[in-house]
Symmetry: D3
Amino acid sequence: MSEAGSIRLTKALALLERLERGALPRVVANLDEFHPDAAEVLLGFSFHDVVLREGIDLKTREMLTVAMLSAMGTAPGQLEFHIRAAMNNDVTRSEIVEIILQTAVYAGVPAAMNAIFEAKKVFAEAAS
Amino acid sequence: MSEAGSIRLTKALALLERLERGALPRVVANLDEFHPDAAEVLLGFSFHDVVLREGIDLKTREMLTVAMLSAMGTAPGQLEFHIRAAMNNDVTRSEIVEIILQTAVYAGVPAAMNAIFEAKKVFAEAAS
Amino acid sequence: MSEAGSIRLTKALALLERLERGALPRVVANLDEFHPDAAEVLLGFSFHDVVLREGIDLKTREMLTVAMLSAMGTAPGQLEFHIRAAMNNDVTRSEIVEIILQTAVYAGVPAAMNAIFEAKKVFAEAAS
Amino acid sequence: MSEAGSIRLTKALALLERLERGALPRVVANLDEFHPDAAEVLLGFSFHDVVLREGIDLKTREMLTVAMLSAMGTAPGQLEFHIRAAMNNDVTRSEIVEIILQTAVYAGVPAAMNAIFEAKKVFAEAAS
Amino acid sequence: MSEAGSIRLTKALALLERLERGALPRVVANLDEFHPDAAEVLLGFSFHDVVLREGIDLKTREMLTVAMLSAMGTAPGQLEFHIRAAMNNDVTRSEIVEIILQTAVYAGVPAAMNAIFEAKKVFAEAAS
Amino acid sequence: MSEAGSIRLTKALALLERLERGALPRVVANLDEFHPDAAEVLLGFSFHDVVLREGIDLKTREMLTVAMLSAMGTAPGQLEFHIRAAMNNDVTRSEIVEIILQTAVYAGVPAAMNAIFEAKKVFAEAAS
């Protein structure tokens, strides 16, 4: 890994830790088992190159991510992760509800129903 | 149209007018030509039942809509409309840029390229 | 909930009961736990505003829903529900088979394979 | 082309002619220019192997196709073709309207708006 | 089943056996339980009419299939099957990794993450 | 732009030039007009971080990209670009045909029809 690469990954992983405290070892181990470059390629791009950019705060970025993943409907595990990450970064339960209801308008009611299923898992944890 | 229906549609159309000043006659005529109930069914649901709800402000809701439509990639005309509507409601050009770059992470680079195409049409109008 | 809202929801829930006898308490509890307005917003729109409209009978509407959900491929749980609902409303097993084979043409063979998986669960119940 | 292949294609093309009178030479020329086998592979499968099957009548099959293409939102040209084909096979304008409004429930309002755009082109022809 | 049909299915099933040794009885039983024609319609088209065509070798075709299913993200079970089928037909683990990283570019990072999940199941089997 | 960034972008742009000779100024100008970082973020990731990786040769990578974009169906302009790029990198017309026919299996016949439309534009240029 190049020196530049290493700083990029370090910053990306620091953001991952902000999204969900303690997720870092699990996420990195999962990617490293797949390929040693996967964390750098995927998280370096996602978190360092894009999500860490200025111009939109992290709370709003996580709201956008929840909206996109709910609308696309193809990554329920990632949607659950980002609902949790959103709530870890000041998005309220009420805001999650509103994002998901808005998904029904733009992507259809089944997309909203799927997102409700993921959100309720996160809400249940938060309540316990 | 029931009395309740009529209030619902009136409120929905008032929101449409906030999204793009002057769009109302064109949008409503388009839907009425299709079917007299279409405006009530589609805009009543979208705007009155969902987007007008409290809990997230209109600026943020338009950011979420731009994110969803960019990620889905199936409605470029609606995406162009909502980029314009977002900018009419205090979303900055810089924020549109950031939303679209974030789309590349969650929906792929071609989705971002398509959204850039629509955004540049709106930016060009705003600049002129 | 407004008086108009309440009639709308009541009619929507009566349709839900026609789709699957006994599903009402489970579906409503699921939505109420998410947010007290969710049933009204999502089921009021889906069932009262749209599916209960005249012009296409319920049997055909459920065939259309099975076709759409099979083709989209993003909501297997909802697809299973609507295959069951279709068969509860006079759609035959043979018609389900034909819809799913037609999905292979318009959305690809994997979409059909996914729908076959859901259909076989419903067929197995019906046979037992 | 094998003898069996030729009967299969002949039947497929006869169905194409029922979907839109006069479309056959244009559709076949388009596919033949791409590859001499394309008509057999694509139309043989679509029309002979699937749509010509018994169990659902052609009118209902075209309604299903309009529903699937509207929901998927990725093939506006094919959607326009099948709205026209549906209306050529006894689907009424009112039924097209209802299918498209139902699309809003299952695939979102933008999907319905896109389908309205295609439907209005076909309705305008029918009216002239 | 016509004589021509029977040869077509026989060739399709021989390819299925090349994709995964021993999968044939399970796949055919699954389809036959759904409808006696399903194997002919779905596998005859997929494998005989298309994948068995000359012009691209089987190894490359399976790479293309893994790319398409990863990008679409709607058929994880089929994706797992085709990652295994690819590796049974000379696609290396390293090539699977590269296809999936390329998916991140064209369909987004969550699509790649989903594919990584399926690939790791297949890699674990191969390692044991 | 950091030194590391500049090398990354330089390599990405060199690949772009291999994909389509002369496309570089147009693509970069398009992205720079949108935002000065867009070329680095989008092309740096796509081309430097992923497509330039070893393990799969460029010809095969372009075949995979054509397969993914055909199957997704949401970026016809990018599909046209990559069909041209594939043919500029030793993919034959016959291979493009086979990829697109294979798309019909995994993503449906309309996806293949859309890709045929784009391919024929590129084939026509190549023939003239």
